[in-house]
Subunit: 108 residues, 2 copies
């Protein structure tokens, strides 16, 4: 049986809820993939080596506005991160777990 | 020029950082798409109507472990939510903005 939002959130005080919401929003920087790579101190060449692809493939991925989740996951993992897919609603956020088992050998 | 993690996080006190991290983790429920739909009080049929597809398409999407970001975005938006793509690192999290302009007419 699915977990209900009401149950999940009933365990938090209103203050805790508001604080968590505000801070969760505040801590998230927003940037595109190429800026994230630069912020991690990585070059396209370094990323290409980790992923065993040619550098232009990295450049291409950084320009895309749509891709397979598996491709994005590989890309983020190559930078040392972890992909999180979140559905945000006015009354809360949920991490989507369908994609946790994606292999690392993703289509590029 | 890319924003540096150091700059972004320097603006928070260590206590604020730890609290934000703990609460950001705590508030995120985790579930697969079908449970999320049920938690939102929606049936596959309702979702199919919103997306102008047949019910089996919804069932199929809920079973997938990989898909285009645009497909997932449409699916989450049909439930009244917003897709957030986050790269989480040991020293912080970043919302990836490449996919903000995805159209709603996604490949299914």
């Amino acid at each position: 049986m699915a977990k209900k939002f009401a149950d999940l959130r009933a365990q938090m005080s209103p203050e805790a809820r508001a604080r968590a919401q505000a801070q969760a929003q505040a801590m998230l920087a927003e940037m595109p993939l190429n800026e994230l790579r630069q912020a991690r101190g990585l070059s396209q060449k370094m990323l290409a080596e980790v992923l065993h692809v040619q550098q232009p493939s990295i450049a291409k991925i950084e320009k895309r506005t749509d891709m397979y989740l598996s491709t994005l996951r590989s890309h983020i993992e190559a930078m040392g991160g972890e992909l999180e897919v979140v559905a945000r609603f006015p009354d809360g956020a949920v991490k989507i777990t369908n994609f946790s088992d994606l292999g690392k050998a993703a289509p590029v």
